[in-house]
């Protein structure tokens, strides 16, 4: 699927990731007082091979959210955090963090949902300024589980909802705290074409 996209279009998708997430990461920095560094987004085929990019082992614990995006560029947007990174976020946001899954509660879940809300909100704002698209999102849903189970569930949802098996993946990190987070956008089939038309490329 990616082979079908010209280098120029792939660049355009990366740029969208960059512009969209740039604002989102700034919003997160303002929210937490921590400086997040944004890395260059990658346009990737959505496969389990990506797990290795996200997590050292397929069974390592991760926390994340998924939210459906409606409007002119429909798809699913997900944030995934390795457990240690989620703990860093929780510590900053709530002043405490669960040491393991058994200590996870509604407070922590809603804190991560809020992070996703703010970041995705600003991603969509940037995207709609760029394209004129009207976009809105549903409230993010939370999960914490094995990385492979989270990724495969995302992939299967994308397949079932007739999404492109392509993702704009962006990593943001705080090296001195060993924090890293990942953003995935899974656009719906046909919506890529729409985007290229609007951007005139």
């Amino acid at each position: 699927m990616i082979a079908e996209l010209s280098a120029f279009r792939q660049d355009a998708l990366r740029e969208i990731g960059n512009i969209g997430l740039g604002g989102a990461v700034t919003a997160l920095s303002e929210m937490t007082g921590v400086n997040f560094r944004l890395e260059v987004p990658e346009v990737l085929e959505l496969t389990t091979a990506q797990l290795r990019l996200v997590c050292p082992s397929e069974e390592c614990l991760m926390a994340g959210t998924i939210a459906r995006v409606e409007g002119d560029w429909q798809g699913e947007a997900a944030f995934l955090f390795p457990w240690h990174s989620a703990q860093v976020l929780w510590q900053v946001l709530t002043g405490s963090s669960p040491s393991d899954l058994s200590e996870l509660n509604e407070l922590y879940e809603s804190a991560l949902r809020e992070v996703a809300n703010i970041m995705l909100g600003s991603f969509l704002t940037a995207l709609s300024q760029l394209t004129g698209f009207e976009l809105h999102m549903e409230p993010p849903a939370f999960a914490a589980d094995m990385s492979a189970a989270l990724m495969s569930s995302l992939m299967v949802e994308a397949m079932y909802g007739q999404r492109e098996l392509l993702t704009i993946e962006t990593r943001f990190c705080v090296p001195e705290r060993q924090f890293e987070g990942f953003f995935f956008y899974l656009p719906e089939t046909g919506s890529l074409q729409k985007l290229f038309e609007v951007l005139n490329i």
């Binding site: 393991d100 492979a148 189970a149 299967v156």
Partner: protein, 177 residues
């Protein structure tokens, strides 16, 4: 020098089918909404495992992986086992997975439970009994089944492990005795 020979572990990735004949270990890692679907023939000692992702294909979608859909996985598992059709009822099935990891979604596709329902209905029609099932819930699972001993090990996140001895329910003891 004495060496411990560890049984080969055949892991079925998403949409794949793996077969073990008489010995070896079959397993899946990180099942979320996917369902590990295993059929075992106690007469031949052959086990076949599919990592089922979706209940059925959409329209005219190409079937790139035999184990991807419940509706394609079951016939392909039967083909791999090579059990004659009149004897399908002696087969035993194991289902693991089919969870919904993300909770409180406004609109959920409920793929996990739809996968499980589809597999139930297919196996019911073929009269293949499900001898072990751990499906649903909101957590992911990994598992391994030793095809020679019937020992099933299931892992959940955070290192929670359960072990089940399924030799009897898989009909292995009957064969030995």
């Amino acid at each position: 020098m004495l060496q411990v020979i560890k049984a080969e572990v055949l892991l079925a990735g998403m949409g794949e089918i793996k077969v073990a004949r008489g010995m070896g270990v079959l397993g899946c890692i990180g099942l979320g909404s996917c369902v590990g679907t295993l059929l075992y023939d106690p007469m031949t000692g052959i086990g076949a495992l599919a990592h089922v992702m979706l209940p059925e294909p959409h329209g005219e979608e190409a079937i790139d992986l035999p184990g991807k859909y419940a509706t394609t996985a079951v016939p392909n598992l039967l083909k791999e086992l090579g059990t004659p059709q009149y004897a399908w009822t002696r087969l035993k099935a194991i289902l693991i997975g089919g969870a919904e990891l993300f909770q409180n979604r406004q609109r959920t596709l409920q793929i996990g439970s739809r996968n499980v329902e589809q597999l139930h209905s297919l196996l019911d029609t073929l009269r293949i009994p499900i001898v072990f099932e751990d499906t649903g819930g909101r957590y992911g699972r990994s598992f391994e089944l030793d095809i020679a001993t019937g020992q099933l090990t299931m892992r959940m996140v955070g290192g929670v492990t359960s072990t089940y001895e399924l030799a009897r329910s898989l009909g292995m003891l009957a064969k030995a005795g």
